[in-house]
Amino acid sequence: MMAKDKYTHAIQVDTTTCIGCSHCMKVCPTQAIRIIDGHANIRPERCVDCGECYRVCPVDAIYVRDDELKVMQEFDHRFALIPSVFIGQFPAEFTTSRILQAVHQLGFHEVFEVEHAVDLMKAEYQRQSDKLDSLKPRISSYCPAIVRLIQVAFPSLTDHILQLKAPHDIAANYCKAKIQNEQSDVRKPGVFYITPCASKIVAAKAPEGERESPIDGVFNMNSLYNKVYQILVSDDENQCRKQMADLSPDSVNWSLSGYERKYFNGRALAIDGMENVLEFLEKLESGQISEIDFLELRACDQGCAGGILCPGNRFLTVERLESRQNRLEVLLKLNQKLNNPLMESASELSKNLSTDPILPRSEMLIDKDMETALQKMDRLKTIAAYLPGFDCGACGAPTCRSLAEDIVKNKASMSHCVFVQRIMEKNYKLSPEQAFQMIEKIWGKNRLNKYVDKNGNIDA
């Protein structure tokens, strides 16, 4: 069975800014990008919103579709859901409670840290590892970019993904239940998540394996950081609350790499960074790796500390979170007991932890009909053999093989290849004008102008 629902995306290309340089095309893990008419085109059916393209764009033409703060206004009780990596963006002189307070001042009624939900997940991991069957390894459902990557590029591994909701989902459910119990006059409570990445936006808007999301809006961590920073520097410190021991110390690091796996009994590995994940899944899918019980996978280097919307340096973020863990450990010793408010509703929330199975997506298919597909595959092989194999990208496709694929799918032609073009020209099969038109179709009419704008002058 394949996933049928609408496939939404947060990563977009601003085509007027894009200079068609092809950097993004080269790094896309699912070969979802082509250069057409002088700018990057993302094929939605293949995009997993990992944001690798966003990282490498030299002119900031890739952007993330998020919500504006004003979407909050229609809600009469507003929660800010804050992931701990947000705290980790700030210099240590600003305490956690000051930062939370500053977010509060942006127009929220309550702020709540996402990682409160982690205690509940830890218990669930124990349960899941105890009932582990032959379907090994189980793969964490935490990183939505990874879940989508598996659906699109490693479809035979989808049933290894844990059917477990993300902490932000659980925390949002908690917030909504809480306000309904406490204040019956609240008509429309809203929960807003501050995201470190594009894939969490998609996960909050259209979660895989869930019918609807309890999140009402998602704010970009990058832009919120600036707003909060301004409040912090103009703030008077005295009005802030003391920090409480309400989070388990190591929960604050759950989104980083290497913490989640500690809670799954057995042989568990943590892998972070898109390239590392790809290499590993490739081997896993062909049975080259076995006897592993759990895989914690993060699309970003250093986990969410390396998210594309995190303004800070990922290593400094990790440092800050780890020192927060130490401080929470001291606090916990002093207080003797953890006061995680979410755990008071643990039994209620536990009933609503699982998702539907994650289904594969059939986006890599060359044709639905087997006979036709085989013919096309044969043609693809022949074409690929004629292409030079340089993977130069000048045709607007990331590799010679992907151009061959586009050709058999009637999305490109042989003369897109500059080397083939040159030979055709030499043999008078193609006039220089035709070749020129071809190039213009790929790289766009205004390419030169855009480069001039970018470099400031034409001599450069």
């Binding site: 479809p155 035979s156 591994l157 989808t158 490739e282 081997k283 899918e285 062909s286 049975g287 080259q288 594969p360 059939s362 890599m364 298919l365 060359i366 044709d367 639905k368 009909d369 087997m370 006979e371 597909a373 085989l374 595959m377 044969d378 092989k381 694929e405």
Partner: protein, 136 residues
Amino acid sequence: MEMQFHIEGGDFSGAGTASSEVKKVLKQLNISPMIIRRIAVALYEAEVNVVAHAFSGEMTVNIESDKIQICIVDEGPGIEDIEQAMQEGFSTASDKVREMGFGAGMGLPNIKRNTDEMKLSSIPGKGTTIEIIVKF
């Protein structure tokens, strides 16, 4: 369609290239992911057997609309007792091969489990031929 691969004995780091390539093609055809997985696993085990036990081999893969047929012919020591080789846990792997994490004697049984047909034949002192079929 047909694909061919050369497998070099002793080249452990190269083992898996053929099964990866075949998997890439299969993923673009409308074949259930679970079947692809079975094929990939069987192919990899067969590939490693050439790497671990033989000198060199040629793999021919034939994909038709209803099945995949794979044939690997190798030059090597061959197998004296095929029935024994098929038993779970039977292995003649050298210590060196075991150090690399192979030699559990699970390869051939694994191939059998993951395929619809499997034929193993050998001339001791000359080489081994394995033919497998998986139906879509």
